[in-house]
Structure formats: structure tokens, C-alpha cells
């Protein structure tokens, strides 16, 4: 019963969110039920659409882990965005420039991206541990540094000759196989889900995870119990960085048709920030994050059908989606705020 409670709360929140979104549509003379029907059928109506929904969900479940694993250790790590850019650049480098045999190439490109993401989180981590610099400040700054660095590298060093709008595409040996002809879902989703599961087992099945959560719940008690707080924080940052790096890679070597990074970073931008919302909806739980990511993917992919078949203008589709998300995030936000207040 206790375990099911967050899930139930979230389901209720979904209901309230949908009603709120519907209420927003009414004054503009759209038919909410017709719009939602288009949304649901669009997102899950055919196997093809389910796969598209999952393709949109893949990077989000990972950037949600970045935020969730931070919150579990008492951090407010919003650096997924920048770590993801650097991961994407690492993936472009390894996937497009290193000639490696099939199989090994995918592995190397994936690992390079994860390491890049982790390294990018290292400086905010060390600043936090050594100097007590607040991670919100440092990760925001690092997001901007990452944005400009990635853009610079994409335009001046990794651009595809003759096509300035994007980087060199990943070599075929570095691409995750597409799961069905004509779909944009690739096998990278299995890697993403495995990563989420691994983080779940780490947090609830190992001593290290226990210590991280203890630091998050009650740092004083953790210190008293002899937990190395710095080490727990460091791991929280690094795991988050790896997740974000993998999210970046998933859009380069796991998403047709471009298989490359746009010079505007347009095909990865905001996935890191969206992950914060996904994590909140998923109750800062790696597995809850997977479900929440699928919901986000459904809103994103199904949204176009609301526009196409129910005629809802695209700006309102975004507003309705945003409203649903905000409603969904309220339970977890409330938990976070309450914890702050009672401490």
C-alpha cells in the first residue's frame, strides 16, 4: 500500500492535469474530448506511434535520472542540459571520426559520451565539495559554457563539409540499429532503460546508494554515521553526468534521420531541462522516471495529432501540455518543499 501511494497520487495528478488542460481549451472553442482522443490515439494508436512516443521518451528518462539522483543525495543538480551537450559532442567525435569495427564502435561512442558528460559534472561537483559553491549556480553557468563550447566545436571542427547546419554524421558502424523500418526508435532505448535500472539497484541495493540517500535525507546523521559526504556527493554528480552524456549520445547515434548534431544544438536543446520535469513527475525515482518519460513522449508525439486532427493551434497544444506537466509535478514539488520546511 505504501509503495503504491506515490503511483496513485501521480495518477490522480494526471487526471487533474487533463481536466485543467481541457478547461484551458474550452474558452478557445476547442472540443477537449476530441482533442484528447487525437492525443491518445496519436501517441499510442498504432505500433508505429508507440515507437515514436518511446523515441521521444528515451533521452528524457536519462536526463530525469540526472536530476533524481541529485535530489536523492540532497542536491539540486540542474546541469543535465550542459552535460548532455558535451556528451553529444563526445558522441559526434567518437562516432564520426574514429574508424572502428561494428559493435565496438557503438560501445566506444556510447562510453565516450558518458565519460564526457561525467567529466563536465566534475567541476561543479568539486566546487561543491571543496568550496561549498551551490550547485544551482555552478551548473547553470556550466550549462552556458557547454552550450557555447559545443556550438563552437560543432561549427569549426566537426561540421560536415558543405553542410554547415550540422556536424558530420555518425558512421554506420556507430549507429544503434533501428527497431522497425521507418521508425525513429533505435536499440538505444534498451541501454537507457538498463541504465535507469542500474541506478535503481545502486540506490536501493548497495551500500554506496544507501549512503547517498542518507546524505540526502539527513546530512548530520550521515556525518555521525561516518559516511564520507564528499564521496557520496561526487558519485551523485558523476552518475548524473553519465546519464546526461548518454542522453546526448542517444540523439546522435540513436536517432535517425540526421545521425548528427545540428549546429544550433536544436536536436538536443532543452532535453536536459525537460528532464527536471520528468524527474518531478516520476517522483525522483529512476523507474518512475521511465514512466514519466513515456508520458512526456506521448504528449510530445501525440500533441501533433491534437494539432492536425482536432485543429488545436500548436501554441495551445504546448500550453495544455505544460499545464498537465505542472499539475503532475505538484505532488513531488510539495514533498520537496515540505522537507525543506520541516528540516
Amino acid at each position: 500500500m505504501r509503495r503504491a501511494r506515490p503511483l496513485l497520487e501521480s495518477l490522480v495528478a494526471v487526471g487533474i492535469g487533463l481536466i485543467a488542460g481541457g478547461a484551458l481549451m474550452l474558452p478557445f472553442r476547442y472540443h477537449p474530448l476530441k482533442a484528447y482522443q487525437a492525443l491518445f490515439q496519436g501517441a499510442f494508436g498504432t505500433p508505429h506511434d508507440v515507437m515514436e512516443t518511446l523515441a521521444f521518451a528515451t533521452p528524457l528518462m536519462l536526463t530525469a535520472v540526472t536530476f533524481a539522483v541529485g535530489v536523492r543525495a540532497g542536491l539540486f543538480n540542474i546541469g543535465a542540459e550542459g552535460q548532455m551537450y558535451i556528451g553529444a559532442i563526445g558522441a559526434v567525435f567518437a562516432a564520426s571520426l574514429l574508424p572502428l569495427p561494428p559493435g565496438l564502435h557503438i560501445l566506444v561512442a556510447t562510453l565516450v559520451a558518458m565519460i564526457c558528460g561525467a567529466l563536465w559534472s566534475l567541476v561543479p561537483a568539486l566546487l561543491k565539495i571543496w568550496r561549498g559553491v551551490h550547485e544551482v549556480i555552478s551548473t547553470i553557468m556550466f550549462n552556458w559554457i557547454a552550450f557555447h563550447l559545443a556550438t563552437y566545436l560543432a561549427i569549426y571542427y566537426l561540421a560536415e563539409p558543405g553542410r554547415a547546419e550540422r556536424t558530420r554524421p555518425a558512421l554506420p558502424t556507430a549507429r544503434y540499429p533501428i527497431l522497425a523500418e521507418g521508425s525513429t526508435l533505435t536499440a538505444v532505448i534498451f541501454v537507457a532503460i538498463l541504465f535507469c535500472l542500474a541506478v535503481y539497484f545502486l540506490l536501493w541495493g548497495t551500500r554506496m546508494g544507501y549512503e547517498m540517500r542518507l546524505v540526502g535525507e539527513n546530512p548530520e546523521a550521515a556525518r555521525y554515521a561516518g559516511v564520507q559526504i564528499g564521496q557520496a556527493l561526487l558519485w551523485s554528480f558523476l552518475i548524473g553526468g553519465m546519464a546526461a552524456g548518454l542522453a546526448g549520445a542517444s540523439q546522435i547515434i540513436g536517432r535517425p534521420p540526421a545521425w548528427s548534431l545540428y549546429a544550433t544544438l536544436g536536436n538536443v536543446a532543452t532535453l536536459g531541462f525537460d528532464g527536471i520535469g520528468v524527474a518531478l513527475v516520476g517522483r525522483n525515482h529512476p523507474l518512475g522516471g521511465i514512466l514519466a518519460a513515456i508520458l512526456f513522449g506521448a504528449l510530445q508525439h501525440g500533441g501533433r495529432f491534437m494539432e492536425y486532427h482536432a485543429g488545436v493551434v500548436s501554441e495551445l497544444v504546448r500550453a495544455v501540455n505544460g499545464l498537465i506537466v505542472i499539475t503532475l509535478a505538484i505532488p513531488e514539488l510539495w514533498t520537496l518543499v515540505r522537507r525543506r520546511l520541516t528540516l
Binding site: R5, L8, E9, L11, V12, G15, I16, L18, I19, L33, K34, Y36, Q37, F40, Q41, G42, H48, E52, A55, F56, I155, Y156, G162, R163, A164, E165, E181, G182, T184, Q251, R255, P256, P257, A258, Y262, T264, G266, N267, A269, T270, H301, R304, F305, E307, Y308, S314, R318
Partner: protein, 434 residues
């Protein structure tokens, strides 16, 4: 107990919600008993600029509106929010059984168009300013050219030659030593603009020697100032590049970098404010859309790529049943330019802006204001019209006539504007023109 209560309430709420949704979900759309002939539907998929960009996307939707008005087709707009939307948006439109033509706007959709067009062989696809067929040729050489896919491209070199000549005539009239061009990232597409512009400048000096010896001057390699800024988005770079050119007394600067035009405009405004000018010189020259309204009196003209015509003509080709035949003949590329014809029918897409086009674009600005809620037009429409007209009237008539003469010669094939697309050619032409 309290928890139990809350749970019950939650369940009740959920049940109510599901109950409310359930009957709606499976209802099939009722089939009309007497199927009246449905109008042909075309879908326009924007790039991430979306509506209100006053350029490619707005022009494409205008083309759709024109097709609706003239051919009675139904038009659906699909806005892409992120790059990952291109494939699913094109797919959604293609899966609509009533849609016969899907238009993707802007070269960013090239990859997506190639993929989706392969999957829906019975639907027709058009890309505006795209190179989807060349992607097909690289990736799936056996299928090239796809029978249902057409890239619409434009003769930018010819339009650039016209504005190059226009700028040079202004230099002659105001006795200025230079004209300028601010470019984006150096990609082969921009070479067409660059060499076209310089070629037009040289043609103008030759014309002057023959027809206006008192204003003539020889063409030198440093007459056209040009900079590749390496960006299509950093407006400051456009400002800096243009400022340096105006500092060397360039009479007009050609914008070949999209939004960087706003940077060029900033440089012009600075000079205008310092010297209390109400109208140029200095001028700048717009690109793609009619940009003359942005700062009326200081944009002498724009080199227009009529995206709307691309949508309009390809819709017509589909309705006339000529689309696939033309794809076969042209290897899937439709060139719209000056004097271009398809089966004897004039299909043009390049022109230098006139006072008459201005109204259409002011209207576009008004729509954008409504859509985005932001102030777009710098002044009331009448005032813009008046100021642009005053600027054009203030230039001697021979300038406009001479530009029209060049257009006529290009149209009749009396002169050939070089179209540069390779590294070798660009080296050769820079050697010759600077």
C-alpha cells in the same frame, strides 16, 4: 483512516475521469452516406522557425493561402517545434488519406523528406530550398530519383546579379568607392550569391562606361567589400561586419545571412541617427523575403526568393497531373528563377522587390503581429508605404531602368550569370572579380 479516505476520493476521481473519457475514445468518425468529392488537401510542414518568422515559413503559408484561393484546395499547417519533429510531422501528414501533397519548408528538412518520401510512394512531396534528391542519390542510389519527391530551388545568382548592379549604380550616383556584402557561414550555396553579386557589379561598371560616361568608373577587385561572418544567428557579427564596410564609405551592403540583416540595420541606424538622416545612403539590401519595410528609407530593395510561388506552382503541378512526369524529366529538381518556364508556362521565383510587393509583406507583418502578439512593423502601414516610395522616387530613374535592362537581358539569355557551386569555380571567379 484518513489515508483510506483520500485513496477512495482519488479512485472516485479517476473513475469519473475514465468514465468521462471512455465513450469518446472508440467512436469512429461517421462515414458520410453520400461521399461528396472532397477537396484536395495539401499539408505544409514548417521548420523550427514556425509561423511569424516573416520569411520562409510565413511565405510558404502565404503560398498555401494563394493556392486555396485560386484552386480551392484545403491547406493544413503543421508546425515543427524541434528538429526531431520533422520526420513525425511529415509522416502524420502523409498518413492522412486526403492529403496529396506534403511540402517541407527549408533545407533543414532535406533528410527527413528523403526518408518519409521513400515510405509513402503514393504521396507527393516537395521540399523548398532542399536537396533531398541528392541525399537519396547518396544513400539509396538504386532508387534515385524518387518519383514522388521534388526539390524546389532558386536561381539566387541571377537575383544577386541584379542587386549587385543596383548597388553599383547607387555608388556611381552618390560617388561612393565601395559596395558591400555580409555573408553567413561559407557553404557552397552562398557562393552563388557572392559571385552573382560581384558579377552584377562588374556588369554595371561596363554599362556605365557605355551609357553614362560621366558617372563611369572602372571595376577593381576591391570595389566589392565582402565578409563571411561564420554565423547565421549572431546578429552582433552582422553589425560589426557592416559597420566596417560603412566606415569605408560603402553605399549599400547586401545581407546574405538571414537574421544578420538586423545587425546591418543597426549599423545603418547608428549612422542615420548621428547624421540625422531620414533616408539613405547608406542603404542595405534585403534577402529571401521583401525586407524593405524593416527600416523604410534605408533598404533600397530586396533579392526575393519567392517561397510562396514554390508552394503555389507545385500545388498546380499536382492538380494538373504533371507533377510526377516533371520529377522524372528534371530528376526531381524544379528551378524557379528569372524567366524559368515549365512546359511553356512561366514559373518564376526570383525577383528584386518592387513597391507593389510591399503590400503583401506588410500584410504578412500584420498577421505576424496578431500571431505573436509582438510589435513587428516599425510604423503604420501607410507610413511605411509612403517612406519606401519616397526613397525609391528619390533615386534617378535611369538606375531603375538600367536594372530592368539587366533583368531583361538575363531573361532573354543575352547574358549568362555564372552559377558557382564548386571550389575550383569559386577560386577562378575570385581571381577575376576579387
Amino acid at each position: 483512516m484518513a489515508r483510506g479516505c483520500r485513496l477512495l476520493t482519488a479512485l472516485a476521481l479517476l473513475g469519473w475521469l475514465l468514465g468521462a473519457c471512455a465513450p469518446a475514445a472508440p467512436t469512429p468518425t461517421p462515414v458520410a452516406p453520400t461521399p461528396a468529392p472532397k477537396p484536395v488537401k495539401i499539408a505544409i510542414v514548417s521548420d523550427i522557425g514556425g509561423r511569424g518568422d516573416l520569411s520562409f515559413n510565413d511565405m510558404a503559408f502565404k503560398g498555401g493561402d494563394d493556392a486555396k484561393r485560386d484552386f480551392g484546395v484545403e491547406v493544413v499547417e503543421v508546425i515543427s517545434k524541434v528538429e526531431a519533429d520533422y520526420v513525425p510531422n511529415l509522416t502524420t501528414a502523409a498518413r492522412d488519406p486526403d492529403v496529396q501533397l506534403i511540402v517541407g519548408v527549408g533545407f533543414l528538412l532535406s533528410d527527413a523528406l528523403a526518408e518519409v518520401a521513400r515510405k509513402f510512394p503514393d504521396k507527393n512531396f516537395v521540399g523548398i530550398d532542399t536537396y533531398a534528391q541528392s541525399i537519396v542519390q547518396q544513400k539509396y542510389p538504386n532508387e534515385y530519383p524518387l518519383p514522388n519527391l521534388m526539390d524546389v530551388v532558386y536561381e539566387e545568382h541571377k537575383g544577386s546579379a541584379l542587386v549587385g548592379a543596383l548597388a553599383t549604380f547607387l555608388a556611381a550616383e552618390y560617388k561612393k568607392p565601395h559596395i558591400g556584402g555580409v555573408f553567413g557561414i561559407e557553404i557552397p550555396v552562398l557562393w552563388k550569391f557572392e559571385i552573382g553579386y560581384k558579377w552584377g557589379a562588374r556588369w554595371a561598371t561596363e554599362w556605365l562606361a557605355k551609357n553614362k560616361p560621366d558617372k563611369a568608373f572602372p571595376y577593381t577587385k576591391d570595389f566589392v567589400l565582402w565578409t563571411y561572418t561564420g554565423t547565421f544567428s549572431d546578429i552582433t557579427k552582422g553589425y560589426e561586419a557592416a559597420k566596417a564596410m560603412y566606415a569605408r564609405d560603402a553605399v549599400a551592403v547586401y545581407n546574405i545571412a538571414g537574421p544578420l540583416g538586423l545587425g546591418i540595420n543597426q549599423a545603418v541606424e547608428e549612422i542615420a541617427r548621428a547624421q540625422g538622416l531620414k533616408s539613405g545612403p547608406p542603404f542595405w539590401i534585403g534577402v529571401d523575403a521583401n525586407q524593405d519595410w524593416i527600416n523604410p528609407g534605408f533598404i533600397i530593395a530586396s533579392m526575393m526568393k519567392r517561397v510562396d510561388k514554390g508552394v503555389y506552382y507545385t500545388t498546380k503541378l499536382v492538380l494538373d497531373g504533371k507533377f510526377r512526369d516533371l520529377v522524372k524529366r528534371n530528376k526531381g529538381v524544379l528551378v524557379l528563377g528569372i524567366g524559368t518556364k515549365v512546359d511553356g508556362e512561366l514559373m518564376e521565383g526570383i525577383s528584386v522587390s518592387t513597391l507593389a510587393d510591399l503590400d503583401e509583406f506588410i500584410k504578412m507583418g500584420e498577421t505576424a503581429e496578431k500571431l505573436t502578439g509582438k510589435k513587428v512593423l516599425p510604423a503604420p502601414p501607410d507610413e511605411i508605404r509612403r517612406r519606401v516610395k519616397a526613397m525609391r522616387d528619390a533615386q534617378p530613374a535611369w538606375i531603375w531602368e538600367a536594372v530592368a535592362e539587366l533583368e531583361r537581358m538575363i531573361r532573354n539569355g543575352e547574358v549568362q550569370v555564372p552559377m558557382v557551386t564548386t571550389e575550383e569555380e569559386i577560386k577562378k571567379w575570385r581571381e577575376e572579380l576579387g
